[in-house]
Amino acid sequence: MENTIIEVKHVTKSLGGRTVLSDINFQVPNGSVFGILGPNGSGKTTLLRILLGLIVHDTGEVKVLGQNPLSMTREDKNGIGFVLEDHGLNERLTAYQNIDFFAQVYGLAKEKRRDRILEMLDKVDLSSYRKKPVGTFSKGMKQRLSLARALIHEPRILFLDEPTSNLDPEGTVYIRNLILRLSREAGITIYINSHDLDEVERICTRIVIMKHGNIMLQGAIADLLRPNNQTTLEVKLEKSKAIPKLANLLSSLSYVTHFKIEKDVAFIELIDDPSRLPLFNTLAQNSIPIKEITQIKDSLEDLYISIVKEEEHHEVQ
């Protein structure tokens, strides 16, 4: 099995004379949960449509499951599942009828179809609603049904466009857990389009941040949040008199890369995580009066805001 399941190289796309995607490059490893983050109009949906073979890119190369989405065979397309922002269910038909149509389209044999549909409905806790019209369902139920629909043919890759938008907190947690379960238990590669930072941070292993059709940042979340494995500590002092002594001490330590002192609080950047212990020992040995030490965790939100704001700042200039 190949290690890269999606490959996008130098892809550009213009619509109505406006560049929607500009030189997009990324790879999605097999079995990963991959997130595309970006504000509205950043080109996420256009990119997803290109990956699904719904629209044609102007230049560059796109490969999904090793094939160009525009020239995929039926068997290749059977390896792809998707839930678009509009759930794609007919509200006048029942849950069973909706899924049955897609099961037929994906070529499930008649004798297997019924059992598979019931199994999927059971997986998303909708088996007791199978004879009810989808129009009577809540948003969360529709989203669960869409996931059941997308997984009916056991795809290798699942594309999700804003999977938890407009859902209540309970629905959001349900869908999130379901996605994680699919990734861990079934080994499905999951590609998520989202602007929910919390969701992406919780479930994705790798991300791409897009803005105005350009990739601003990409990589594994862990690497992006802690570049070079650095750790930042916030040290509150009991007495501000100790500040000069602390400053002298920190400047002499090789594992301290940078520090800043504001009033009686010091922000200390360490070369790596294990360097915390020698720092604590040194502070204790030099009798620095410490009130509290906390580790500052960079959140995806901070990173995202910094990128988007930085870009806006440049634009204004």
Partner: protein, 230 residues
């Protein structure tokens, strides 16, 4: 394109359209009325009573079918737009040809069978002394009625559906229907002697037109065009 795909799409369409029970019945009543009115207006020009009834039936049949199929195609595509499920269906392994033929097959079944049923009732009533024999051995107009009109109807539905998918509104299909209708009926309107070469010629011309339009439409249609129009 697989036969099973066409059947799957047609089954879904049948389920969806028949779900609009009241709208479905209302559409049929309107089509029936329009069909009757158009056929009577046209056949009143024919002096021979036997030819008049045969021609009336043929025209009634086609008028009802075409009006009904146009209304149903519009209803069907509007339903897709409202439910916003077209993009999801386009992203499946279904080809555009399978989607088009499946949708058209469903509309064809729903338009042809009730129209045929109505015509048989009217036919039996009008030809009561001959009864079923007249139906089994139809007149020349009857042959057109039973054999050419379904093919013509299917082609017209394909053009309708294509235009609706392409243009995202029903005016285009209304114009096409009107042109086809004119081609078929107008050239034969002054013929008072049943099946004339003019009528047969216009039927054949109509057939060529709808199938050519369907073929060209399908060749030019791209998923991108539909997705961006949604």
């Amino acid at each position: 394109m697989r036969f099973n795909d066409i059947v799957a799409v047609a089954k879904r369409e049948l389920l969806v359209i028949t779900n609009y029970k009241f709208l479905f019945l209302f559409t049929y009543l309107v089509s029936f009325y329009v069909g009757t009115y158009l056929s009577m207006a046209y056949t009143n020009l024919i002096p021979d009573p036997q030819i008049r009834i045969d021609t009336y039936l043929a025209f009634f049949f086609l008028s009802t079918e075409i009006v009904f199929s146009w209304a149903l195609s519009t209803l069907q595509v509007q339903d897709y737009m409202r439910q916003r499920c077209m993009e999801t269906i386009l992203a499946t392994p279904l080809s555009l040809a399978s989607i088009l033929l499946g949708k058209s097959l469903a509309i064809f079944i729903l338009s042809y069978i009730p129209s045929l049923f109505c015509v048989i009732i009217v036919f039996l009533q009008a030809n009561w002394p001959l009864g079923l024999a007249a139906l089994i051995f139809p007149s020349s107009v009857g042959w057109i009625l039973f054999f050419i009109s379904p093919v013509l109807l299917f082609g017209t539905i394909c053009v309708n559906t294509l235009l609706l998918m392409y243009l995202n509104h029903s005016m285009g299909s209304l114009i096409v229907n009107f042109i086809v209708y004119l081609l078929i009926f107008r050239s034969g309107a002054h013929s008072s002697f049943g099946i004339s070469p003019a009528i047969l010629g216009s039927y054949i011309l109509g057939l060529i037109c709808v199938f050519l339009l369907s073929y060209i439409g399908l060749k030019c249609l791209r998923k991108e065009r539909i997705v961006l129009a949604l």
